[in-house]
Point group: C2
Chain length 420, copies 2
């Protein structure tokens, strides 16, 4: 049988290590040229497949591909574009198969979160029915750490490390100035539904009096009275108070705190995030001087402070995906299986796409302290290994040397256009 | 003559490397025990001197002092507390001399910005008049880089590196998602009066199409029409637009942009910083999806990505200050003198405190492009060496090992209290 090509796409919000996964996929495929032809990447994710905008990764040098391992973001472009259900928009799936057929693509690697695993799953089912079977392998990725089954998601460990390091550093700063200046510092982190990233800030708390003193999770309804009381206690006891708040922090009725702010004279919602709202609330009640930070994309792009464990996981997932394909598997996703906490050990596992599609893994209640404002030892034990190790990128003239690929397009074969 | 002790205090906003300066002071003093007795640090800066709250640094181990070199923030506490003029509050100066006398302090090392150099200068003049001469040595420190005479200020190089690295990483992220998601990213940085930190973001722009595409300086009045036009051009040409805005960006009439936002129903000023205001302005005009970040303290505390050059400068300033004292100098401040750009070379210089007190060094107009939205090659040549080199702290379990000193108080001698 003729050797078939592979399609690889990055989906959804990018991370500091999704390119390490791409590196794992491409380097492993290159080692099995007898089984896998070329690796084509979708320009801007699945959109590249729909529009037949494929990137020929064989045009990139070995060193450029190796440099993906230390380059944040999505090297081929990613997208926020969710394929609808098969019944709703069968033509999208048919188009995918059409493009795959045209380019002799027999392997579909989709690197993303829960939505993407759902898409891979649907493609695997449909392609069979349409008489053009493709091996569909999902590859986990999400800073939110909210995929089920896998112990953790590549991308999360590095955000976790960034957040823990940053809040530790900022807390040192605030503490040293608190006598005459800022007493309250609020840092807002990502996590609309799940509080994993906010929880990671808790790793900075190595002694009882250390920051963060308060963590606000989306999973726990915001209790204004309790939080204000705790802030006062911290300032009186330690001289300062540091808070990490998840962007998804919400009231008991489900309203996001970020949406609970005042509207301006034109009826616009407050522009800021949730950090300034919390900070102002404290100022109103206690009069403490405050500062706040919103790290936003800085946190998920921060390859300069990536977790080595996370980079290793990300690469391994890409490598395993290709090995699964070579073994003839389909409709599966490699997973990270933790086999020991101390010392931390892990291995590659696998699950079916059906089991991970569209499932969101929230923080277990047992990972959050009774008062809802901190993490438990159990949570710490889970999180700690994920931020372990440094994996610094190379530098030149004071800046990281991140790679920009040539991203050369595969000549189009189809005459048809497809409207996105 | 009896050996005299030294007083060292950290003043104003702390930095990622001010403790490296403290390390330079203490390690150098320890090498000259025949000349200098103990080094007493002021707890919370000059307030420690006024309240006779002195820290005995001789109680700290050599390894704890060495660890200061890689620990951000102010290890002894800093303060925002400016001594008034001698005529206005002579009792403050008299109190300082009283405490210095009581503890046989003959050297006054004051580590801060322009205000602090002014204080050192006044103390040096007054102590002579009061018959208790003290050698006063200022030591430069400020993330704002706004001290005159010295080529640059310790603290700035590390913020500059953090900002350049962060905006480069975020830009990679935005670019890879721009097709279907965020097209405009705004990052707010420190700098109320001088645009040095915002300028440093320009180092990330290594090719014409690279981010940041727009830099907004406090020195250049904000031109809304021009900025909105430029944003559109960038998005149409490159697919995205990244902006770095100084917190001090202002309108032609001097109003801070951050203060130009709407007030809420209660007449409160908008809570956010200037980044959300710029982002919203663009959304209103062009409808582009945006994200914004406010790094706040994260930027000046970010020891994890400190510039090696900056750490070297900071340490050298502390060391030179002690050497100046041993040489019998007073009312002076060590400076950094650049002797060559390529390769970057520098040496220690010195200036009188009178020349640096209360002078603010703004960005020269020649460092900003004609359109006011970027940096020139001349500026790049100046900034580039300052972010050079990495000086990573040691890590344990995924987190930097920053030191907490014991900070043991020197027994009080005076019976008097002093009200701050």
């Amino acid at each position: 049988m003729e050797k078939r090509n592979a399609f690889y796409a990055q989906s959804g919000g990018v991370t500091a290590v999704i390119n390490a996964t791409a590196c794992g996929v491409i380097e492993t495929a290159r080692k099995h040229k007898n089984k896998i032809g070329k690796v084509y990447a979708g320009r801007n994710g699945i959109i590249g497949a729909l529009t037949e905008d494929l990137i020929d990764t064989s045009k990139e040098s070995a060193s450029a591909i190796a440099a993906l391992k230390h380059t944040p973001s999505g090297a081929f472009g990613s997208c926020r574009y969710k394929l609808k259900g098969v019944e709703e928009s069968r033509e999208q799936y048919e188009r995918l198969i059409e493009v795959f057929k045209a380019h002799n693509i027999g392997y579909f690697f989709y690197n993303g979160g829960g939505d993407s695993q759902d898409t891979s799953h649907k493609v695997s089912q449909l392609s069979k029915k349409m008489g053009y079977p493709i091996q569909c392998i999902g590859i986990p990725k999400t800073v939110d750490n909210d995929l089920p089954i896998t112990d953790n998601c590549p991308g999360f460990g590095s955000v976790a490390k960034y957040v823990a390091v940053s809040i530790k550093e900022a807390a040192f700063d605030v503490k040293s100035m608190a006598e005459t200046s800022t007493k309250v510092f609020v840092m807002e982190v990502m996590g609309r539904h799940a509080g994993w990233i906010a929880a990671a800030s808790g790793l900075a708390k190595q002694d009882k009096e250390d920051a963060p003193h308060i963590i606000l999770f989306p999973e726990i309804p915001f209790d204004k009275k309790l939080v204000l009381k705790r802030v006062k206690e911290c300032v009186e006891k330690y001289g300062y108070c540091v808070i990490c708040v998840s962007e998804g922090a919400r009231l008991a009725d489900g309203t996001f705190l970020a949406d609970s702010g005042n509207t301006d004279a034109f009826g616009h919602k407050q522009l800021g995030g949730v950090a300034p709202i919390i900070a102002d609330m404290i100022k109103q009640e206690h009069g403490y001087k405050y500062h706040w930070a919103v790290a936003d994309y800085l946190q998920r792009a921060a390859r300069h402070i990536a977790s080595k464990t996370d980079v290793d996981h990300a690469y391994a997932m890409g490598k395993a995906a290709v090995q699964f394909a070579i073994q003839g598997k389909t409709a599966v996703m490699p997973t990270i299986v933790r086999t020991s906490n101390k010392p931390y050990k892990w291995k590659i596992g696998s699950t079916t796409l059906a089991r991970v599609a569209n499932v969101e893994k929230m923080m277990p209640r047992s990972y959050i302290t009774k008062d809802g404002l901190g993490i438990t030892e159990r949570c710490r034990t889970y999180l700690q290994p994920l931020i372990k190790g440094e994996a610094y990128p190379p530098y030149k003239d004071g800046l990281p040397r991140y790679v920009r690929l040539k991203n050369i397009q595969v000549p189009k074969i189809l005459n048809t256009k497809f409207k996105i």
